[in-house]
């Protein structure tokens, strides 16, 4: 019954419940919004400025170049903003894909039970036998070095986590009285899975998916840093840090410092939002 109450009040007072009363969450939304808007507007204004080599190399941060320029004379601020578009879009895409795939498989697995459930559980067991980044690394390496493949690899790495989570929540829902009622009134198993179990267990994987967005950004940047994600000269935070390693060791800290700061601010904002949603919706 507890599950029913929670979901009813979720729908009833959604607006009241989502009112932000938490300064950290406000800051996170503002931060993420700012980065996203700059990521869309700045590259539009600057054209192809993020890959253009039009300035002197390794100029320190100044009013003209707030984040300085890199060794090829590219403006680091422009590149960071062009990268923001890619990294945030990717984090959100991965989170949404993982949420949909994970919660559907989890709900179906829990509702059908028996053979279907056993197969799904063993499959996630095996996928979870690899640390996420390692799985993503070998998938990308086998498919070829390309950002799309890296994105698919990160999705595959995170799906089993969400399958597990939504299955365990769906199992709780499955034993509720209204499921028995639906079954008695003649609903078939697919209808029960998609009309009753999935909607009533959805909020847990939903909260988790904001954290997935944060982890996906970190993992994708790591793949690009290792050279299998976004390829130079395209701008991506992880790839930019990889390009700036040598200059950083020789004293020019800015080409690799600012992209990492962007990762920290973006991934951190998703974390704070995730924690806040977790407290709000639980």
């Amino acid at each position: 019954m507890a599950v029913v109450d929670a979901s009813a009040s979720l729908r009833g007072n959604a607006v009241a419940r989502l009112r932000i009363g938490n300064p950290a969450a406000v800051a996170a939304f503002v931060m993420l919004g700012t980065i996203l808007v700059l990521g869309i507007v700045v590259p539009m204004v600057a054209g192809s400025g993020d890959v253009a080599q039009e300035y002197d190399g390794l100029l320190g941060p100044s009013l003209d170049h707030p984040f300085g320029t890199d060794r090829y004379g590219r403006d680091v601020f422009l590149r960071c903003m062009a990268a923001a578009r890619i990294d945030i879009a990717l984090g959100l895409t991965v989170a949404i894909a993982v949420l949909i795939i994970g919660s559907v498989i989890g709900a179906v697995s829990a509702t059908f039970g028996r053979g279907v459930d056993a197969v799904v559980m063993r499959a996630t067991d095996i996928l979870l036998a690899f640390p996420g980044v390692v799985l993503a690394l070998v998938i990308t390496a086998s498919l070829g070095k390309n950002p799309w493949y890296a994105a698919i690899a990160v999705i595959i790495a995170f799906v089993p986590l969400l399958v597990r989570l939504s299955r365990s929540k769906a199992l709780e829902v499955r034993s509720a009285d209204y499921i028995s009622a639906a079954r008695l009134s003649g609903a078939n198993t697919w209808q029960i899975a998609f009309q009753h179990v999935l909607p009533n267990s959805f909020k847990y994987p939903f909260v988790q998916s904001t954290l997935v967005a944060s982890w996906a950004i970190l993992d994708f940047a790591a793949l690009s840093f290792l050279g299998v994600g976004v390829q130079p000269p395209d701008a991506e935070w992880g790839a930019m840090i990889a390009e700036g390693v040598g200059d950083n060791l020789l004293g020019s800290w800015w080409p690799s410092f600012f992209p990492g700061l962007m990762i920290l601010l973006t991934a951190g904002s998703f974390q704070v939002i995730g924690d806040w949603l977790d407290r709000k919706l639980r």
Binding site: F130, P131, V133, L137, L143, L226, G227, D275
Partner: protein, 340 residues
């Protein structure tokens, strides 16, 4: 007990077989052509065909899978394209370096995680808790390669607090006689505290970086479990019996909060021994298996990379199986046969 243990081991063996088959499917069956990737971007058709013939990639699918599984059972992980050495031997020589780094990092992560988690729980909803929360968000949103780079340029190059990132020992030291493969331990066994100290100083920074970044999940779990325990009925009973706050914290709080940590250690181990390790070993010139994976990746050595992934997958299964036994032993309520 014996039969449940057998069942667990059976599941572990099945998972290991699954790890091997999945790795084969990923490296062999995905649309990418392993021979082309291994031969390199600018290889001619003949060169690609040569690679294909040399590694049996032109055999039928079932022949390849059969050969691969037969090799796997004999613990033969194939030959590296890059070095022409057996992958298994290269991994086993490099394993002690990774274990020394990873286990130290794991220890740091657990100590830091439990310490901060308990601190946050004791000061719950007050300033101390807030500060720990800030640490959790910052450390779980930091890219390991970025903070490592900053640490090397400031802590090492500018302020000279730690040794240069040049592997397990600074220049001028010879490695201790091989006993455990862990330099710090081996040097102490050989009665050479100077080398042990030097090895420890080289180890400290990479281990700290991995350990700190791996700790937030432990902090979260310990915090919520300890709060739950401290606000429970049994803690209230202890309080009404007049036990001191310290005694309640250790007897009621900490003991109950350590259980969920054990299940989480598996995940954390995955980060310090594999995910974060690949990057840290590369940046610190650490001669372990993570650095090997990085080098294989750069040279498109798919077979070496495959061997590394299998080793990590198998190790991960073994760690998690061992943790299940530990969990059952620590908490008698856990039913090993339940399979949940």
């Amino acid at each position: 007990m014996l039969s449940t243990a057998g069942k667990r081991l059976g599941v572990a063996l099945l998972s290991i077989l699954g790890v091997a088959v999945l790795t084969f499917f990923i490296t062999q069956l995905l649309p990418g052509d392993p021979a082309r990737i291994a031969a390199g971007e600018y290889a001619s058709e003949e060169q690609v065909d040569q690679v294909r013939a040399k590694y049996g990639l032109d055999d039928s699918f079932s022949t390849q899978l059969g050969q691969y599984l037969a090799d796997f059972v004999r613990m033969d992980l194939g030959t590296s394209i890059r070095t022409d050495e057996p992958v298994r031997d290269e991994l086993t020589t490099r394993l002690p370096a990774t274990l020394e780094l990873g286990l130290t990092a794991l220890l740091i992560a657990v100590l830091l995680g439990v310490g901060l988690g308990v601190t946050a729980a004791v000061h719950r909803y007050r300033l101390g808790d807030r500060l720990v929360q800030v640490f959790v968000v910052l450390s779980s949103a930091t890219a390991v390669f970025w903070i490592a780079l900053i640490a090397i340029t400031t802590l090492v190059n500018k302020w000279g607090i730690f040794n240069s990132p040049t592997g397990r020992l600074p220049r001028g030291f010879t490695e201790p006689d091989h006993v455990t493969g862990l330099y710090v331990v081996d040097a102490l066994l050989a009665g050479d505290p100077q080398t042990a100290g030097a090895a420890l100083r080289s180890l400290l920074l990479p281990a700290l970086l991995l350990g700190v970044l791996a700790s937030p999940s432990i902090v979260k779990i310990v915090r919520s479990a300890t709060i739950q325990a401290l606000e429970s009925d049994f803690a209230r009973t202890s309080r009404s019996f007049g036990y001191s706050a310290r005694s309640i914290l250790f007897q009621d709080g900490l003991r109950n909060s350590l259980l969920p940590v054990i299940t989480n250690v598996g995940l954390v181990a995955g980060f310090v021994l594999a995910g974060g390790d690949v990057i840290i070993e590369q940046l610190f010139a650490w001669p372990g298996i993570g650095g090997y994976a990085y080098a294989s990746l750069q040279e498109n050595d798919l077979f070496a990379l495959r061997g590394y992934v299998i080793a990590i997958g198998v190790g991960y299964v073994l760690i998690n199986t061992a943790l299940e036994f530990v969990y059952g032993w620590v908490d008698p309520r856990v039913n090993l046969a339940g399979g949940s």
